[in-house]
């Protein structure tokens, strides 16, 4: 992959050039000191050294709450129109890139989800290396998920080493030509990205987890606030709600993020619940995160971003359990 050097002083003109290609978004530190992926206006300084944003970039692919179908007598059934034109996400960490790779496998599989596919199509991803903190686990638990992106920025002294990863990235680089310096003799520096895209065996299907006191302990301390799945870059479970209009004939179908730790998540018609208590639901959540689920059985969906740990009001952490249950896997 071709490599270039972007000096720190060229970051501002680099972003200005990106703005001519598409809508530029990146991690922005707010007045409350929290980092959020936001629209970057000219003059906005993205925080490219922030450890994590509150919400992951999945918010650009799956909105928390959105109309996915409407019915009007005159117009019939209609799906919402989607924004077009490139949207550039600058500064996406390897874990969040891996999460997008996971979501792609879920939502672009046959049949693709039209809303997701339309949004995914317009994304240009510019990755960014990072330094994991105590909540991160990519370095403890490597992942087979790839960190595909168009460009990747390796942070180094006085700037970035840019790796060009796709034809799209190459076109971007051509338009940036005068800002970049050649870096032919450079090697890729060590980074957290090397914890991803590894040829790992699928997790073992051991049954050590069938009866553990830990599930109840977790359940007892869980506030049921839902933060862990809202902030998880691979949690994509949703509920579907339908609302009838006041004219008596129009209607709207909504998709809204759901959480597998809620009782309602596993409830079906007639009031039956497949996961009656929170302890059972914790086991279910664990299995999804560390062993995969459904068509992605064997593909752990935890990318180690640490958001669930950082945002859990009672500090719940699934890592010690994973160490015990997944010890057969590196």
């Amino acid at each position: 992959m071709p490599l270039f050097i972007l000096p720190q002083t060229a970051l501002e003109p680099f972003m200005e050039r990106l703005r001519t290609v598409g809508e530029l978004h990146g991690p922005l530190r707010g007045s409350d000191d929290a980092v959020r992926f936001s629209f970057l206006q000219t003059g906005d300084q993205p925080d490219l050294t922030a450890v994590r944003s509150l919400l992951p970039p999945k918010k650009y692919l799956l909105a928390p709450d959105e109309t996915i179908l409407t019915y009007r007598p005159a117009a019939g059934y209609q799906t919402p129109a989607h924004e077009t034109g490139p949207l550039i996400l600058l500064g996406v960490h390897p874990c969040d890139l891996a999460a997008i790779a996971y979501l792609d496998r879920q939502f672009l599989a046959d049949p693709p989800d039209p809303t997701y596919a339309a949004r995914r199509k317009r994304l240009i991803l510019i990755g960014n290396s990072c330094t994991p903190d105590n909540n991160c686990s990519c370095h403890q638990r490597p992942s087979a998920l790839s960190t595909n992106c168009d460009l990747f920025l390796y942070q180094q002294d006085n700037g970035f080493l840019i790796s060009v990863e796709t034809p799209h990235g190459e076109r971007l680089c051509q338009s940036l030509g005068d800002l970049l310096l050649p870096a032919e003799d450079q090697q890729l520096p060590p980074s957290s990205r090397s914890n991803f895209g590894l040829p790992l065996p699928a997790p073992s299907a051991n049954e050590l987890d069938a009866h553990l006191p830990d599930w109840q302990r977790l359940a007892d301390h869980c506030l049921g606030c839902g933060a862990c799945s809202v902030c998880c870059p691979t949690c994509s479970c949703f509920e579907i709600l339908e609302f009838g209009g006041l004219d008596g004939c129009s209607a709207e179908r909504l998709r809204r993020w759901d959480n597998c730790l809620f009782k309602s998540h596993s409830e079906v018609a007639g009031g039956h619940s497949f996961q009656k208590d929170r302890a059972q639901r914790f086991r279910y959540r664990y299995r999804h995160k560390y062993r995969g689920y459904g068509q992605l059985q064997g593909v752990p969906s935890c990318v180690g971003c640490g958001r669930c740990r950082a945002q859990c009001p009672t500090g719940l952490d699934l890592r010690p359990l994973a160490e015990y249950l997944e010890k057969e896997r590196p």
Binding site: D32, D33, A34, R36, L54, L55, K59, P64, D65, A219, D220, H221, C222, L223, G224, C225, G226, A227, V230, C231, L241, F243, G244, G245, L246, D247, G248, W257, N259, F262, K263, S264, D277, R278, Q311, P313, T314
Partner: protein
């Protein structure tokens, strides 16, 4: 589609829930076309309960014998009875109380001329069967309109279960409980309000009442660890709902 006949009434409350419905100005013409508001004293006279209603929407808690009688009458005349707002659903501010005996309070307030009836204010479900609840102080406009849309189709509203925290995190707010050490009732309170208050930096007061799966015991421990004494926490909890099960974990 036949026009459903509705009764809308208020007991002990501020009328805010009914006003929220009247504030749906853009939708009112359509509502009047589709729904028969047969009994709605706040909006129109004459006011007599007669015939049969498809649904009665009742705001407020029940605090007098007269109100209990009105409530039973509405129940008798209605196929469905819906608790409108937090007071009707949980008791609300009118049921706010400390542990001073009621008799003593009456003496303090009314002296030697106590009021004739002495009912403890209660939510509707303590008196009659309630078929559905639309909570909130007041309920959100979209919830009111969704309720009426459901009633038009002969359905009952689907009730969410996620707490305010879920709404709050979806809006990418910084957690006031965790990061600011505030006494925020978000984890215990039923969501659906798009976390209005925390989004403005104001901790959740719990105005929508308990979330069905609230882990009350754990939240109390957490508030205590954050330095809030039991009295402050209990006082805050009771503001909109007098009865909390402090041992509930799920």
């Amino acid at each position: 589609m036949s026009r459903p006949r509705l009764a809308i009434a208020g007991l002990t409350a501020c009328s805010g829930c009914q006003l929220s419905l009247l504030n749906c100005e853009a939708e009112l013409p359509l509502l009047l076309e589709r729904i028969e508001f047969q009994f709605f004293p706040l909006a129109c006279s004459p006011v007599r309960i007669e015939g049969c209603y498809d649904a009665a929407l009742v705001e407020g808690c029940c605090s007098t014998a007269h109100e209990a009688e009105l409530l039973r009458e509405l129940r008798d005349h209605s196929r469905l009875l819906i608790a409108l707002g937090t007071c009707a659903a949980w008791g609300g501010v009118a049921t706010l109380r400390n542990d001073t005996p009621r008799k003593e309070l009456r003496r303090q307030v009314y002296g030697r001329h106590p009021l004739p009836d002495d009912d403890v204010p209660r939510p509707l479900s303590a008196i009659v069967k309630v078929d559905a609840v639309v909570t909130g102080c007041p309920p959100e406009k979209h919830e009111l309109l969704a309720l009426l849309g459901d009633l038009l189709r002969g359905n009952l509203p689907v009730r969410g279960t996620a707490p305010v925290c879920t709404d709050c995190r979806m809006r990418e707010n910084l957690c006031l409980l965790q990061e600011r050490g505030m006494l925020c009732l978000g984890p215990l309170t039923l969501g659906g309000c798009a976390a209005r208050c925390p989004s403005l930096g104001v901790p959740c007061e719990g105005c929508r009442g308990p979330a069905p799966e609230a882990n009350v015991a754990e939240a109390l421990e957490l508030y205590c660890q954050n330095g809030f004494d039991a009295m402050t926490v209990t006082g805050r909890l009771r503001r909109f709902c007098p009865e909390w099960n402090h041992d509930q974990r799920a």
